[in-house]
Amino acid sequence: MATTTDPHRAGFRLSQLVYDTRYRSMTIQIVALVALIVAGWWLVANVVQNLSALGKDFDFGFLSSRAGYDINQTLIAYDNSMSHGRASLVGILNTLLVAFMGCVTATVLGVIAGVLRLSRNWIVAKLMAVYVEGFRNVPLLLWIVLIFAVMTESTPQPRDFRVLDDGTSAASMLLGDTIAITNRGVFIPAPVWGSGALVLGLVFLASLVAIWAYRRWAFARQERTGQIAPVFRVSLVLFLVPTILVFLFMAFLSDRQTLVAYGGADGQDLAGFAQALGPDGRVTACVVPGTTQALLVRRALRNSDANFSLVEVADGEAAIAAAEAGECNLISQPPGVDPATIPAGGFALSDGIRSGNPVEFDVPVLGGFNFEGGLQVRNSLIALWLALSLYTGAFIAEIVRGGILAISRGQSEAAFALGLRPNRTMNLVILPQALRVIIPPLISQYLNLTKNSSLAIAVGYMDVRATLGGITINQTGRELEGMLLLGGFYLGLSLLISGVLNVYNNRVKLKER
């Protein structure tokens, strides 16, 4: 072989730092790292200096000190004597609540709108196009304040529901007086779980298991014999029927419970007892809050136009004790209580009240200032929820439409040509493919929705920005720590969601050559 100039393998030269691919990347990275560290150090140093100038420190201890403020919507027990940490948690849960509700409705809206936009029906398609473009091209904030304004300005105040002397009222409740739409929110019946609720819950769980088992069975049978069993309809029946039957059965069984009164004459009924107390007297009932008994006692008292108040106690024992101590003059006893065991000084009223279904609904009724009872879905929540759902729904509609369009017509034609019916074609061919296209951008829309829920600030919804990032920071002056936690929360949430997304993406990736 001919000789070539032997490349001299000299030792390390400084120019290699720049010209040698091996060292060059190191050089650049080190330069970058140094720049980064310098910048970071500069920022931290400034913070330290600024904090010390203000005489502040960096400390998360404030999270355990007393919050002192009230929050109107709490998913977990909270009152103003609890800590800032607890208040933040309440805020976090509120954020998650509205984000979750928003994601669900946005998906429903989006799927419907996306599919309808592809409809062959010209008017429907155009209507959906107007919806989608309208929401996509106008700032979310504007929609939130707009919906909030509709809710507060064009819905009646609670006092408009009051029946005036001439028997009319400016506004009335919906659906048999169970739902009230007011400018403070929508009041809906709240479920109260009675003693049989556990059984009911178990039955419901059992029917879910049954559905699952049935599906497996149907699948296995199809593999074996080819026969196709009606899965959806049977599942629906299994889902609803057993629970309803058990509910009806338990309601049928429920006995009347005994009302025990103090300070009247034996043999009275409730109305009689109330009258016996005289015009200034008041029926005070000891009830355990949150139970069906409490609900039913209150309902009975309300219907009896007696003057009454409720005293909340911890449990049945405490009620008896309180009654004996004279703190209240009415308690309720479980059905079939032996009259002999009625505590001293009390007597059973002649008209007991129903013992209660496994689930009772606490229906809102107009009280002094506001509706009482029931579940109040506040305007702030509704406005935020609706706006987020409608806004994100418009984006999801486009994603769904794109996903379906991405599946070429050839796929459905091929399925038709094989004799598959349109609905089977949808389930077996189109949807599985469209979902792969739809789900990734769908999840990033969920992410956007979650982040956008911080616009709660526009309507005074108490989300994590309002509690931790708002009042807490304001009361404690820990803006640096608070904002850091707030940012950390959102960041963690979105990393979590995008992590899930990545896992999904990797699992459904189409296999290719």
């Binding site: 010209w122 473009e133 106008v138 300005e153 803006e479």
Partner: protein, 434 residues
């Protein structure tokens, strides 16, 4: 009829049939209605429901809209004019039009933002329609940011000129140093040159120039800027500034260099993972903690910086998509010709990747433009901020729809037309690439 049995009867058509009209049910309005409105039971019901919805909306809105009052000094006056009739009170818009559009910008200076806007359009024309606009227009593009700053805030033209010259200095240093000292040293030198220029020469020379040849415009402070002008300024400056940053981040994210890659990823994810509103609060309330004690600069500037960082993260992802869409062969083609990394990026990769990314960038901009409304929470008066302020005044207390409808419609027009443009681009690109 056709008894053309297999092998036996060949068939030849002697005369061609002409086009015939389809049967009645298959043409014209009948067909259209049959296919589009009542093709099935479900569809017929949907049609009825939609018609009902349309009727409901129109019947509710029409009277309100048709009876609208355009000339009144306050809501009460409006109500008097309406005298109990249904009708909108768009007088509020007529009266506060200037505020909603320009904020407190001095009325006699309205020509300045308008001129700036015109200049902006002149500047992006060569970017948006590269085939139809001469390349010389890029001069306008380069000068636009500086001239516009001057037009909008006023003051001496020398400030922007010196800032611009700083870039020129940096570029000059690069041109001088890079061939001799290589890329890294060239880059460092050019940054140093620019910094030197801004730090030393500008402070020393620009007042003198200002004295010799004032070129002064009346100053307008940031607090006077509001309404749509504010949204537009924030939106446009953020998108323009975030573009280079976003490209760098995208390159960083594509890079094999561990630290640079991870830093870019972390930056992008952190920015995107946290809501803009939190970032705005940070800009308003916390930024001072991170700056040397005593520094304090314009809130609007801080917002623009924050929004720029925010949109840079989004742009980075868009550009990354564009980079990923380029076939590997383009990188290899450039390498095999001996182009260096930055040369191949600048000459081969980015021109193509950016072109693919333009629709995405426009969409990012639409999102950004809508998001500028969030600045109302940190006390800047964008249109929504003004709507609050207007409603707080005794004259217009109680007016909602008119303002919201107006703002909504303006935003809609902007965003919708930009959306159309990006759609048009996408179609064009997919035609070209096939």
């Amino acid at each position: 009829m056709s008894d053309t049995h297999a092998q036996t009867v060949p068939y030849v058509r002697e005369s061609m049939l002409p086009q015939a009209e389809p049967p009645v049910a298959e043409r014209g309005v009948v067909k259209w209605i049959r296919e589009n409105l009542v093709s099935s039971w479900l569809n017929a019901i949907l049609t009825l429901v939609s018609l009902y919805i349309i009727w409901w909306v129109v019947s509710h809105v029409w009277g309100w809209f048709a009876g609208s009052v355009w000339n009144a000094g306050s809501l009460t006056e409006c109500r008097e004019i309406l005298a109990g009739e249904e009708g909108a009170c768009f007088a509020v818009i007529a009266e506060r039009w200037n505020q909603l559009v320009f904020g407190f910008y001095p009325p006699e200076l309205y020509w300045r933002p308008l001129l700036a806007l015109a200049l902006f359009f002149a500047a992006i024309a060569p970017v948006l329609f590269p085939e139809r606009v001469p390349r010389a227009m890029f001069v306008v593009t380069a000068a636009m940011p500086f001239v516009n700053v001057w037009l909008i805030w006023g003051g001496s033209l020398w400030g922007p000129i010196f800032v611009a010259l700083g870039f020129v200095a940096g570029w000059g240093a690069w041109r001088l140093a890079q061939p001799r000292l290589g890329v890294l040293a060239g880059a460092i030198l050019s940054v140093l040159a620019a910094l030197l220029w801004w730090g030393v020469v500008t402070g020393w020379a620009s007042p003198d120039f200002a004295r010799i040849l004032p070129l002064d415009l009346q100053r307008v402070t940031s607090r006077d800027i509001g309404g749509f002008l504010l949204s537009t300024i924030i939106g446009l400056s953020a998108i323009i500034l975030s573009l280079p940053l976003g490209i760098l981040l995208a390159l960083g994210r594509q890079s094999d260099l561990f630290i640079i890659n991870k830093v870019s990823v972390a930056f992008i994810e952190v920015i995107r993972g946290i809501p803009l509103i939190v970032w705005l609060f940070t800009a308003q309330l916390l930024l001072n903690y991170f700056l040397p004690p005593g520094t304090n600069f314009d809130l609007l500037l801080r917002v623009i910086i924050m929004v720029t960082l925010f949109s840079a993260a989004y742009i980075a992802e868009v550009v990354r998509g564009g980079l990923a869409a380029l076939p590997r062969g383009q990188y290899e083609g450039a390498d095999s010709l001996g182009l260096s990394y930055w040369q191949s990026m600048r000459l081969i990769i980015l021109p193509q990747a950016l072109k693919i990314s333009i629709p995405g960038i426009v969409n990012t901009f639409i999102g950004l433009f809508k998001d500028t409304t969030l600045v109302v929470f940190i006390g800047l008066l964008d249109p929504i901020g003004f709507s609050n302020a207007i409603r707080a005044s005794t004259d217009w207390n109680g007016i909602y729809w008119e303002l919201f409808v107006f703002i909504g419609v303006l935003f809609f027009i902007f965003c919708y037309s930009m959306g159309r443009y990006s759609l048009y681009l996408e179609k064009k690109l997919s035609r070209e690439h096939r």
